[in-house]
């Protein structure tokens, strides 16, 4: 019998496809998320829009809170660590969370190195803005990717940009000849084997969700139509007027992302979405981390 193999790590992400992963800050929100049909919850101390508003250093959450959330729900529980903070990851592994997000939403701990994720038993999801970044994270052991978007803004524009970039770069890769591929491999510091896998699959070799700015059922369906496998919703749910109603509506939208009639119905009467922010006016962009 084998445990913690790449197949099992990738496999759990495959089970989440077509679903919505919701940010929650306590057990009560986790209950609302599970009841609304979330496929997993992301346990964190403050949702990104509050991290933005509060400023300061954002760190891994209190283990007590993570344990309370794990006790509350039966769906997988994910939690975030700072980029490069492998001790926070060791702590989350000791807590036996189901997935670790090495996340730019928290304040980076290491400006040079990401965590060597293949050393961990718990699988990792990481953010990307483009294909090269996604493949570097996969080389380090990430078994799930999410496009970064710009968390805590309620503005979908960066999520769209990152998803389109990954798609366009994947298409461009498929048209490259051998010498162009070698050059790309050197410039992007990614193994040639991994590039060849992307070329033959026509997509990333792991599940890829969209994140960062999804606030409405239409936003979620937009990202699905652009080709992602599912969505993370952060501040978008619990910073809106009617979290339970909006959570259910976004779950419905992801299942029925190609049915405008169902999307219209799901979008009806949800009250105010979270307040949005203009990307150009942000003091701090997280995606560049």
């Amino acid at each position: 019998m084998q445990k913690n193999t790449p197949k099992l790590k990738k496999g759990l992400a495959q089970m989440l496809k077509g679903g919505v992963i919701m940010d929650v800050v306590n057990a009560e929100q986790a209950r609302i998320a599970e009841d609304a049909g979330a496929v997993a919850v992301m346990a964190l101390e403050r949702v990104p829009s509050d991290i933005r508003a509060d400023g300061g250093v954002a760190r891994m959450s209190d283990p007590k809170m993570i344990k309370e959330i794990m006790a509350e729900v039966s769906i997988p529980v994910m939690a975030k660590v700072r980029i490069g903070h492998f001790v926070e990851a060791q702590i989350l592994e000791a807590l036996e969370v189901d997935y670790i997000d090495e996340s730019e939403v928290l304040t980076p701990a290491d400006e040079k190195y990401h965590i060597d994720k293949s050393n961990f038993k718990i699988p990792f999801v990481c953010g990307c803005r483009n294909l090269g970044e996604a493949l570097r994270r996969i080389s380090e052991g990430a078994t799930m990717i999410r496009t970064k978007g710009e968390a805590g803004t309620g503005n979908i524009v960066e999520a769209v940009r990152h998803m389109r970039t990954v798609n366009e770069e994947t298409e461009a890769l498929q048209k490259m000849n051998d010498s162009e591929l070698e050059k790309y491999s050197e410039e992007e510091r990614t193994a040639l084997d991994l590039l060849k896998e992307v070329i033959s699959l026509g997509r990333l070799p792991v599940v890829n969700f969209a994140a960062g700015g999804i606030a409405t059922p239409a936003d979620a369906a937009l990202m699905m139509q652009l080709g992602c496998d599912g969505v993370f919703v952060g501040s978008g749910i619990f910073k809106s007027d009617d979290p339970a109603g909006r959570a259910k509506a976004i779950v419905e939208a992801v299942m029925n992302f190609e049915s405008p009639k169902i999307l219209a119905k799901a979008s009806e009467g949800l009250g105010e979405a979270m307040p949005g922010l203009e990307i150009d006016l942000l003091e701090q962009k997280y995606a560049g981390r």
């Binding site: 084998q2 099992l8 496999g11 496809k17 077509g18 039966s74 592994e93 718990i122 699988p123």
Partner: protein
């Protein structure tokens, strides 16, 4: 031509569909199923792996749960893998007891070799449920560690593992044989 559907709400939908497509050889047409109309006229339906609470709430929302039960009672073959197994038990379509996440969280997910209906196959268990009671007339097709991990009664097949995450087609072929 007979149709075999994969419930397309959430989870390992593409994986099941790809294997069915690769073994169909003009014997049946694999289709994706989202609506009551899609279920109508199917010979068989696969409930994929995923998160059973999420799948269950959407089944109820669109009244698909009642349609699956009524079609299964009319003879439609249904196979549930992992989350699908939990749903089949909850819908009362097979008399088994099932315990969710019975092995623990992702740290306790595992791969092992199984014997299924006399053949060796890879068993991929991801936050898997356990079958803790097998009702009368339920046939055990595979065991792990003394407990049933694949069972069948009449037109209902249950596996707590994920054949769709491997390149072994034994269980898919078994289900297709049931349907044809």
């Amino acid at each position: 031509m007979k149709k075999i559907g994969v419930l397309d709400i959430q989870g390992s939908v593409e994986e099941h569909f790809a294997i069915l497509d690769s073994i169909s050889k003009d014997r049946f047409e694999p289709v994706l199923v989202k609506t009551i109309e899609d279920i109508n006229g199917l010979s068989g339906l696969v409930l994929p792996g995923g998160e059973s609470t999420a799948i269950d709430s959407l089944l109820q929302k669109y009244n698909l749960d009642n349609e699956i039960v009524s079609q299964a009672k009319n003879g439609m073959f249904v196979w549930g893998t992992c989350a699908g197994a939990i749903i089949l038990s909850e819908l009362g379509l097979i008399d088994i007891g099932i315990e969710r996440n019975a092995y623990g969280g992702q740290l306790h997910s595992f791969e092992t070799e199984l014997e299924f209906n006399g053949k060796k196959i890879p068993g991929v268990f991801i936050r898997a449920p356990k079958i803790n009671r097998v009702g009368e007339g339920v046939e055990i097709l595979s065991k792990h560690d003394g407990g049933a991990v694949a069972v069948r009664k009449n037109n209902i097949l249950v596996t707590t593992f994920h054949p769709e995450l491997t390149d072994n087609i034994t269980v898919h072929e078994y289900f297709v044989e049931m349907c044809l």
